[in-house]
């Protein structure tokens, strides 16, 4: 008669629904959530990896190009819409795997209308390019990443003379 449905926005409470109804994406979370209401991390990572591969092949791609490629290939059984791919591309930008830029209609952007948002992969195969993001000056020393830096004073309990992170860093 009734079934339990997961509400991703309020997982603590139980929600029930008549069996003949299907819960909306507001309750289920949509394509990115599994039946238990948890984020489907593995699926998301697979989609991200596929999108990144396509962009690397094309060098520069728009959202529509990526969407079209996946529609025609039929790689994913899940019904992924344009906004899903937009979210994935946004996530790739935040991962620093691709750049979101506006086409200037020149060079490698020649095929894309000027002003159109497109995505360009970072060329990590280029000679001298680092596989990982470069570690900055602050991040390469203990104080730069210390969770106690605000309590650190020259003569305090936490100080450069007594710091255990410094001790470890200077172990030769």
């Amino acid at each position: 008669m009734i079934k339990e449905v997961v509400n991703v926005k309020n997982k603590g409470k139980k929600h029930y629904m008549a069996v003949e109804f299907e819960p909306s994406t507001e309750l289920t979370g949509g394509a990115w959530y599994d039946d238990d209401g948890n984020l489907h991390v593995e699926f998301i990572n697979i989609v991200k990896k596929c999108c990144l591969q396509k962009i690397k092949q094309l060098k520069v791609a728009t959202l529509e190009t990526v969407l079209q490629l996946f529609k025609t290939s039929g790689v994913f059984k899940a019904d992924l819409k344009e906004h899903h791919f937009e979210e994935i591309l946004g996530a790739l930008v935040l991962d620093n795997e691709v750049m979101e830029v506006k086409s200037n209609g020149m060079g490698e952007f020649g095929a894309i209308p000027e002003g159109k948002v497109c995505y360009k992969a970072f060329d990590k195969q280029r000679v001298g390019a680092a596989a990982e993001p470069r570690i900055g000056a602050m991040a390469s020393m203990p104080c730069g990443v210390c969770p106690r830096i605000r309590s650190c004073t020259p003569d305090g309990v936490v100080s450069p003379s007594t710091c255990v992170y410094f001790q470890k860093w200077l172990e030769f």
Binding site: L94, M99, N104, G136, I149, R150, C163
Partner: protein, 530 residues
């Protein structure tokens, strides 16, 4: 306004180089702004003679500047009403430059050679010198002839690496009324000059005077003095006055002090940072083209924080590229391709009607973002890294759930990370209460937490942390040396076994800390000076 750790770091540098007394006076100025001699004496509880000597040392080494405010003086230091009193201000930027001497030496030696470098070293060590002092020093050290030394000094002045020192006690007018009017009518916000900037703007000699060096001026002065002496007694007052004026002018010419021009050196280091940033993001060819553009437009740059370089044509850029023997193999088309790449978004090079100009602001911001993101990633983790990049790019308030959705993270983890970043000053937080009665959200309303990156505040926070880190590195090094001073005092042939291990460890510690300090100083320049 200098941050707390900026002051501590600057005071530490002065203590190391000039001792506790000078550092005490310097700290007093850094914490209290411009002060008269009496005010410094009162605050430091040192004798006037000691304070005066400390100020002389600071001024000699360009870490302080004296000046007189044109506005009438009132308050605790007023002697006679309206009497202008000399005040002193610490030059925080110049204090920071003291750790960069090796970088400045590198720039000068590479461009002008070893003998110019050696002369320049003397100016850095002594702060400011007259021509006679420069010549005497070179003669004592390397047995250089006067002509050679003057030639080298001429080269340094021509390249703007050395300048005539500022006026000892300039009269500083009140903030320009015109500037205020311009600021009101202009749509662009004009940041008012700090007192330090106003003082230095007035103290600096004119551009012509600042970089005008006449070799053998002392010889000319001697000759003139010989000519002027006996006849002036017979001619009378008019001649005496003329002699006095010419003597004074020659005195000024002869006694002009010369010092390193930090502005030009900072500009070169900024260029170097831009080239390095481009090299990492693109390749060596793009860096070569950018370097050529910087060289070709250098003469037109009038300040360190220029937003854009002057526009250059493709032909000009190509000619500059191939001037360097190493780049003879670069073709015209290759240079054009590099420029097109650099002009692609993000636009580090702007194009306008067949001309190209460098967007320094974009390159600097890209380098700053990279540095901040690196800290966030290492300190708070990958989730924080994505959150930060999202909020930095958005530039507006965003609600917790929306952030979690955009970065594909669990809401609990997102919330925890946001709070950690907020506690360390990397994010701003605002609470939004929607609905409910006047008695609170519990009566039917909801509260949401909104998050944002305030770029200006964040840069200040990061800069203060950098000063703190630089101070800590120095203190740790001092601690390590202190802990191992017995080993350091041992003669090399007596260092065996555990002593030798300690000595080797200390050597490695010194190398690591020094190289970290240099790298950190590059980052400090990126956030503070560029």
């Amino acid at each position: 306004m200098v941050s707390q750790h900026g002051i501590l770091y600057a005071v530490h540098l002065i203590t190391n180089q000039f001792g506790n007394l000078v550092a005490k006076v310097c700290e007093c100025l850094l914490r209290n702004g411009a002060l008269t001699l009496q005010a410094i004496v009162r605050r430091t509880e040192l004798s006037p003679a000691k304070v005066r000597n400390c100020l002389l040392v600071l001024i000699q080494h360009n870490c302080a500047q004296a000046f007189i405010l044109e506005e009438s003086v009132s308050g605790e230091d007023a002697g006679e009403p309206g009497k202008a009193l000399t005040q002193y201000i610490a030059l925080f930027v110049n204090i920071l430059h003291r750790v960069r001497f090796s970088k400045f030496m590198d720039v000068v030696s590479k461009e002008l050679g070893g003998s110019c470098g050696e002369l320049f070293r003397g100016l850095l060590e002594h702060g400011r010198l007259t021509v006679k002092q420069i010549v005497d020093r070179a003669g004592a050290n390397a047995k250089e002839s006067t002509n050679t030394v003057q030639e080298d000094l001429g080269k340094l002045v021509m390249a703007h690496y050395v300048e005539c020192c500022p006026a000892p006690e300039p009269l500083v007018p009140p903030p320009d009324a015109d500037t205020k009017k311009r600021a009101k009518s202009s749509k662009v916000m004009v940041e008012p000059l700090t007192l330090e900037q106003r003082v230095m703007a007035v103290a600096m000699p004119s551009a012509m005077r600042r970089f005008s060096f006449v070799p053998n001026a002392d010889q000319v002065a001697d000759d003139q003095q010989n000519v002027n002496q006996p006849p002036s007694k017979d001619v009378g007052e008019k001649r005496k006055l003329h002699d006095l004026e010419s003597d004074t002018a020659l005195e000024e010419e002869v006694e002009c002090n010369w010092r390193a021009n930090f502005e030009e050196l900072l500009r070169r280091l900024r260029h170097k940072t831009c080239v390095d940033t481009i090299k990492v993001r693109f390749d060596d060819a793009a860096a070569t083209v950018l370097s050529a553009m910087l060289e070709a437009s250098r003469a037109e740059e009038d300040k360190v924080k220029t937003a854009n370089s002057v526009p250059l044509s493709l032909n000009t850029i190509y000619e500059e590229v191939v001037k360097n023997e190493k780049n003879h193999s670069m073709t015209f088309d290759h240079v054009r391709t590099c420029l097109e790449e650099l002009s692609c978004p993000p636009t580090f090079v702007k194009t306008d009607d067949e001309s190209y100009s460098i967007d320094f602001t974009k390159i600097t911001e890209a380098a700053q973002s990279e540095e901040i993101e690196s800290i966030v990633l290492k300190r708070f983790g990958e989730t924080a890294y994505k959150i930060f990049r999202l909020l930095f790019r958005a530039g507006c308030l965003m609600e917790t759930d929306k952030i979690a959705d955009r970065i594909f993270a669990e809401k609990k983890e997102t919330s925890k990370t946001l709070f950690k970043m907020w506690q360390d000053g990397y994010l701003l937080m605002e609470k939004l209460v929607v609905g409910g009665t006047t008695t609170g959200p519990s009566y039917g309303g909801s509260s949401y937490l909104l998050w944002k990156v305030n770029k200006r505040l964040l840069r200040e926070t990061i800069l203060d942390e950098m000063f703190h880190a630089a101070l800590n590195l120095n203190l740790r090094l001092a601690h390590e040396i202190d802990q191992n001073k017995e080993v350091l005092n041992l003669p090399p042939d007596k260092r065996e076994g555990p002593d030798k291990q300690k000595f080797d460890r200390l050597r490695n510690v010194r190398l690591l800390i020094h190289s970290s300090l240099m790298k950190l100083d590059d980052a400090i320049m990126l956030f503070h000076d560029f």
